[in-house]
């Protein structure tokens, strides 16, 4: 805001000064009014300084982007000012009327217009070169510039000396300016940052600027000899110093640019390599895929060393191909090359290998025919783990010099790190997703177990299940057939984990379908076997026990299909026993023969009897010595707790099992389902 206001004030004042100078000339020549030259000089000096300040703000505010744009600005300003000044001359020539030609006023006004345009050109050039010189500045350069700039502005006041250009006084005044100007002119760091094309452009623009500068200089010296001009430009350290500064810098830049041309391609190449490094390391953070890394590695390598062809093989952790990229060579040729290399017992993925000339190898003609003469092979590894191999081919002998090999090595190692990181990230994400999915599976399976066990007032039921993994293969369920009839089922799907959990879900479906048909226990098993035969994999089976409980008649009809025999406690005899019966697991025989292997049993219960159903995880739980928990221990813990509630009995069983195994984790799923008849 502030600087904007200043900018406007400066601009207005500068225009006002210039108009005043012209006004004074008018007064002098037309009205013959005597005005001291000093007044003109004061206005002229103020005008100079203001124009410089305006350009200091204007150019200084710009951000450095492209150096050529700055040079272009100098040229455009110079070109347009010189065009205006030439048009004026042309106009004066065509309007060659005596009164104009001889009019001192007219000549002086033209002169002042020219002066103004020239000062604009000089100020613009001055501050553009300030930018260029102070690019990547040192402290010394900065201070030297500050002094120089101050001196230049002060030199504007040499107007008042009005001394002859070749005079001693003039020389003394310009000495410090010359030294500082020369010193500063050699700060040409910006040149190094131009690429080859930009350097040529700069050279062209600077040449044009030089032409413009000389045109202006020529004008200055023409006017110097003109006695009709009252306030002469040339007799002014300020103007001359600025011209000198611009000329020296133009010529210095011109020469430096010219000498830099041959090396700029090397610079560009190095710069490109650095960019590739940056890109390679960025690919990961940018969320690109592994394919991007492969592509970038192969393409950057080929272009950097100017290889004629190449390919990249990437393998996964198991050593299988994960990606294969080829450029300028087809798969058949690659296969051919690999065959020849193998015949020479060169493994392309063991160690880095450089073949300077294939000629010295056997079957070389087969590669030469393709036609390649030198081959370089660099494996990608990370922590001794093989990630893949990069192979580059050239059709000249010893086509890869040491520099190229070094740069390819650094590409490969950079890419290896990127790939390794990428795989680690992917693995971590995969694990996270897997965990999340297992959690969901666990929730789903939880919902497969019955929500409520309170279906009949004559039964006190407690059930418990625990899976070794998130999900398991144990299953129990209860179905209320009528107010007095309940059907209870307990089962165990072979295996554990996710596959067992899926089969357990199938079993639930079969149970809920068949149970509504009012079948007998053995018929149920027969149908269930039939259904499961169609959907269980070959080595899977399910053990199941089913109990049809009739609380009205106090009977239990049951069948056991390979499941651990239920434990029955009789209150009357105060004894507990396992309910042995014949029965084959479901899915073992997948034919109509199954019914021969299943038995239907029935018993009468009395109030206070207890039925303990369980899965083999409890029986097979073992301690450190490998001893199983077994049937006898279960029997005694049930016996000991027969007077407690079913919940307490369940807790006692769990406590007993854990006390026996002395661990918190059991290898198998385990469940129990305890019913007391009341």
């Amino acid at each position: 805001m502030n600087s904007k206001i200043f900018f406007r004030i400066y601009t207005l004042t500068a225009i006002l000064c210039w108009l005043l100078i012209c006004g004074i000339e008018y007064l002098k020549f037309n009205l013959h009014f005597q005005v001291s030259d000093t007044v003109t000089r004061i206005f002229l000096t103020v005008f100079y300084v203001l124009v410089f300040l305006i350009f200091k703000m204007q150019v200084g505010g710009k951000k450095i982007g492209n150096f050529n744009e700055y040079l272009w600005q100098v040229f455009v300003v110079g070109g347009s000012t010189i065009l205006v000044s030439l048009l004026l001359k042309l106009g004066a020539y065509f309007l060659n009327i005596d009164q104009f030609a001889n009019s001192l006023l007219w000549v002086n006004i033209i002169y002042h217009i020219n002066t103004a345009l020239m000062v604009v050109f000089l100020a613009n050039g001055f501050y553009v070169w300030k930018k260029l010189i102070l690019y990547q500045k040192h402290k010394l350069t900065q201070s030297a510039w500050s002094v120089f700039e101050l001196l230049v502005l002060l030199s504007a006041f040499t107007n008042f000396l009005n001394s002859e250009i070749y005079s001693f006084k003039f020389l003394i005044a310009s000495l410090p300016l010359t030294f500082l100007g020369l010193f500063l002119s050699f700060n040409l760091k910006w040149v190094a940052f131009l690429n080859y094309k930009q350097k040529w452009q700069s050279i062209a623009i600077i040449f044009l600027i030089l032409v413009i500068t000389f045109t202006y200089l020529q004008q200055v010296f023409v006017y110097r000899l003109d006695n009709t001009i009252l306030v002469n430009m040339a007799n002014n350290t300020f103007t001359i110093a600025n011209f000198a500064f611009l000329l020296i810098n133009c010529i210095a830049s011109f020469l430096v640019l010219l000498f830099h041309l041959p090396t700029s391609s090397v610079f560009e190449q190095k710069f490109g390599e650095v960019m590739i490094f940056q890109k390679l390391s960025q690919t990961i953070s940018m969320g690109d895929s592994e394919d991007e890394v492969y592509k970038m590695l192969l393409e950057s390598s080929i272009t950097t060393v100017m290889a004629d062809a190449g390919w990249l093989e990437i393998v996964n952790e198991k050593g299988n191909y994960e990606a294969f990229l080829n450029r300028e060579i087809n798969e058949f040729d690659i296969f051919e090359i690999k065959k020849v290399l193998r015949k020479n017992s060169i493994s392309i993925d063991a160690d880095p290998h450089y073949i300077k000339d294939v000629k010295s190898y056997s079957h070389a003609d087969r590669i030469q025919a393709l036609p390649y003469k030198s081959i370089i092979m660099i494996p990608l590894t990370s922590n001794n783990q093989k990630l893949g191999t990069l192979v580059l081919l050239k059709n000249v002998i010893d086509g890869f010099d040491k520099e190229m090999v070094d740069i390819i090595f650094s590409f490969v190692s950079q890419a290896s790190v990127a790939l390794k990181n990428f795989r680690l990230v992917k693995e971590a994400l995969g694990n996270e997703r897997y965990k999340e999915e297992r959690k969901i599976a666990k929730e789903v399976q939880k919902s497969l177990f019955p929500e409520s066990l309170m279906l009949n007032i004559n039964l006190e039921i407690h059930a418990f299940t625990k899976a070794a993994d998130e999900v398991g293969g144990d299953y129990y369920d209860i179905y209320k057939y009528s107010d007095t009839k309940l059907i209870v089922v307990i089962g165990d799907v072979s295996g554990n984990g996710t596959s067992a959990a899926f089969n357990m879900a199938q079993m639930k479906g079969i149970f809920h379908s068949l149970v509504q048909l009012g079948l007998h226990a053995d018929e149920f098993m027969n149908y269930a076997n039939n259904a499961l035969s169609k959907c269980l994999e070959k080595t899977s089976f399910i053990t199941l026990s089913i109990f049809y409980i009739d609380t009205e008649n106090q009977t239990i009809e049951y069948a056991r299909a390979g499941h651990c025999p239920a434990l029955y406690f009789s209150k009357q005899t105060q004894e507990s026993s396992y309910m042995q019966s014949k029965g084959l697991g479901l899915g073992i025989i997948r034919s109509k023969e199954y019914f021969k292997h299943i038995q239907r049993c029935e018993l009468h219960y009395t109030t206070g009897d207890i039925l303990v159903l369980y899965t083999d995880g409890i029986i097979e739980a073992h301690n450190k010595e490998g001893e199983e928990y077994g049937y006898d221990r279960l029997k005694s813990v049930v016996h000991l707790n027969h007077e407690a509630s079913t919940k307490q009995m369940g807790d006692a069983i769990i406590a007993d099992v854990y006390q026996f195994t002395e661990t918190k984790f059991l290898a198998d799923d385990y469940s129990f389902f305890i019913i007391r008849f009341i």
Partner: protein
């Protein structure tokens, strides 16, 4: 788990030693499959050193029942420890497989 198989004049003998669980049951499957591929018709399984059998191990035996019937192959299991025998019995596999106590008995059966 160690599984060794040996060829005898009259039969093909597989020795099981250790725990037959989800990971080792593949070895048993391989051993039986190899025997069948060679055209063996009489297979003996020595379980004297078999300490434990999981449902996966049982699944392997079970999966061959139909194939044995189709190819007229005899398989006899002998020397089961009580604990392991109990597992076979509870599942009902004893109704489908020939299970005996000693090698002599087993050889006798396959000679019939």
């Amino acid at each position: 788990m160690n599984i060794n198989s040996e060829k005898h004049d009259q039969h093909y003998l597989i020795h099981l030693d250790g725990d037959l669980d989800a990971s080792s049951c593949l070895l048993l499957d391989q051993a039986i499959a190899t025997g069948l591929e060679k055209g063996e018709k009489k297979i003996l399984i020595n379980c004297q050193l078999l300490n434990y059998i999981s449902s996966a191990g049982l699944g392997v035996f079970m999966s061959y029942i139909q194939e044995f019937e189709n190819t007229n192959t005899d398989m006899v299991i002998y020397g089961l420890k009580d604990k392991v025998n109990n597992v076979f019995q509870i599942l009902g596999l004893d109704q489908l497989l020939k299970i005996v106590n000693t090698q002599e008995e087993a050889i006798q059966i396959i000679r019939l």
